[in-house]
Amino acid sequence: MISPIERAEAPKVTIEDLLRIKRAERPAPEFWGRFEQELRAKQLSAIVAKRPWWQSIKPAQGLRWISRFYMPVGASALMVFGLLAVKENAALWPSSVVIEEDGGVHAPALSLVPQVSLASNEQRVETLPASTETISGPTAVARYDILAREAEVKGPSYAHSVQARRVTGPGGLLEMIPWAAPLTETAAPQPPAPLVLGELPQVTFAANVLPGRDYRFDGRVEVDPVVMPVRRAAAESKPKEQAAPVLSPRELRRDRILANLVVAEGVEADRSRMGQVREVLVSALDDDRLYDGVRRLGMGGDRLTLKF
C-alpha cells in the first residue's frame, strides 16, 4: 500500500492508467501452444461428432425473419394447445349434482349418457328394480352393463336411473371408492345403565336412618308419592319419546312402494285382489329375490305396475 508521503510525491494517476495495467495482463508464450493443441482436439471432435438434424436445416433467404419470432410463436402455440386440451376435456368434467328420486344427493359422476339433473317425485320416471343383494366389484359392473344396454332401448329416463344406480347403487362406483362411499348405518349408542342408588353407601346410610322410604332409582330421582302424587301420575301417563328411526334409502323406497299399495288397496273393486297381491309383495319384499325378479316397475296416478 502507498504511504501518505509517497502518495504526496507521486504524480497524478487516473483510472485509465490503472486499466492499462489490466491490459498488460497476458499469458506466457507457452500458454498459446497448449491453447492451440486443445483447440485442435476440440475442433476434430466437433467435426467427427454428428450434428443434430435440425442444425443442418438452412431456411430459405426470404424466411429468415421467422427466426425472430421463434419464442412468441412457440409460446402462442403452447397456449392454444393448452386451451384446446382444456376445452376437449371439459366435457368429461362433472358439472351437475344428481338428485335421486329417493331424495338422496349423490356425487357427480362421469356420464356417457345424457343426465337428468333433477328428478323429483312428481316426475314420472321409469325406475329400476332395487336390489338388496350385496354385490360388488366385477359382478356389479357386469350387471350395470346389462342394465345400460336395456337403457338404450327403453329411453332416457330409464338410462338416467341406470346411470344413477351405476354410481350409487349396491356395488356401484361410489362403493368402490373408499372416500366416496356412502356412510353406512352404525349401531345407535346405548343409553347409560341406570344408576342404582341402593348400592351407594350414602343411600344405605339414609335407609338405615329413615326407613320406609323408596330409594329406588330408574333414571330420575324418586320422590315421595305422598308429597307429589300428581306429578308422578303425570309422569307415568306420559308416553316415552322415541327417536325416529333412521332409514336407509332402500327402506325408504320399500315404504314408499307399500304406501302406494295401500292407496291402491282403497279401491273397492280391487280390494280382494290387491290384498292378495299385497300379501305376496310383503312376503317377497323381505326376500332379496323381489328386486331381482322385478323386470319393470311403473307408477301411474294411483297405480303401481310391477312386471316380473
Partner: protein, 210 residues
C-alpha cells in the same frame, strides 16, 4: 449488393484499418465456406489473443477464459456457413465469444475464483507503476500483484454490462460504435455505461488515485 459490399458499408463507421481487416477476413471466410477448412486457422491466429483477453477480463479466470475462447472458435467454425457478412467477421466472432462469457458468468454467479495472468511491464505500463511506487525488486512485484488483485476485484464488482463496456473500450480499445454493434445497443447507452462504470471504479480504487 453482395455480402462483401454490405460488410464494407457496415464498417464505414470504423477506421480504414478496420475496413481493410474486414475485407481480408471476409475473403478468408469465403474460403472456409468453400471447403478450405485450414483457412480458418488464419482467423484463429489473428484473433485468439484478443478473444482470450476479452473473456479473461470479464471472468478474471485464466482457465475459464481459455476454455471459453476455444469454445467460441469452435462455435464460429461450426456456424461459419451461416455467416453472410451482415457485420464484420470480427464483430460476429466477438459476439459469439461475449455470449459464451456472459453465459458462463451467469451460470457461475455464486462461484467466483480468480486466477491471473502475469502483468508484463514491457508493454508500456512501467510508467504507471513507477508513478504508484518507487520500490524495486521483490517489493515492487508484491505491490503489482496486490494492485492487480484490487483491479480485478473492482472489475468484478461492476455489473456485467458495465464490465463488458469497460473491457471493450479501455482494455481492448474498441470504439463506441463497434461496442454498440457487438452489444446490440445504442452508442449513447455505451457512453452512459462507460461513464457510470468509471465512476464506480474510481470509488473502488480511490486509494491508488491522486
Amino acid at each position: 449488393m453482395n455480402a462483401a459490399s454490405k460488410t464494407l458499408v457496415k464498417t464505414l463507421v470504423a477506421s480504414p484499418e478496420r475496413q481493410r481487416e474486414a475485407g481480408a477476413d471476409w475473403s478468408v471466410v469465403e474460403r472456409v465456406q468453400g471447403g478450405d477448412v485450414a483457412a480458418f486457422d488464419q482467423l484463429i491466429l489473428k484473433y485468439r489473443e484478443r478473444v482470450y483477453a476479452m473473456i479473461y477480463n470479464i471472468t478474471s479466470n485464466r482457465e475459464d477464459a481459455a476454455d471459453l475462447a476455444q469454445d467460441a472458435f469452435i462455435k464460429a467454425f461450426q456456424s461459419i456457413n451461416r455467416f453472410h457478412g451482415q457485420s464484420s467477421f470480427f464483430t460476429w466472432l466477438y459476439r459469439i465469444a461475449l455470449n459464451a462469457a456472459l453465459s458462463h458468468v451467469r451460470r457461475n454467479r455464486l462461484r467466483t475464483f480468480f486466477s491471473f495472468d502475469k502483468v508484463h511491464e514491457d508493454t508500456g505500463v512501467s510508467d504507471v507503476i513507477n508513478k504508484l511506487t518507487a520500490k524495486g525488486g521483490v517489493e515492487r512485484e508484491v505491490f503489482v500483484a496486490e494492485l492487480q488483485e484490487k483491479l480485478n476485484e473492482a472489475m468484478q464488482k461492476l455489473s456485467i454490462p458495465h464490465r463488458t463496456v469497460v473491457t471493450f473500450f479501455e482494455i481492448d480499445g474498441l470504439s463506441h460504435e463497434e461496442i454498440a454493434e457487438i452489444m446490440e445497443c445504442s452508442v449513447g447507452t455505451v457512453r452512459s455505461r462507460l461513464h457510470y462504470a468509471k465512476q464506480l471504479l474510481q470509488a473502488e480504487l480511490q486509494s491508488y488515485l491522486n
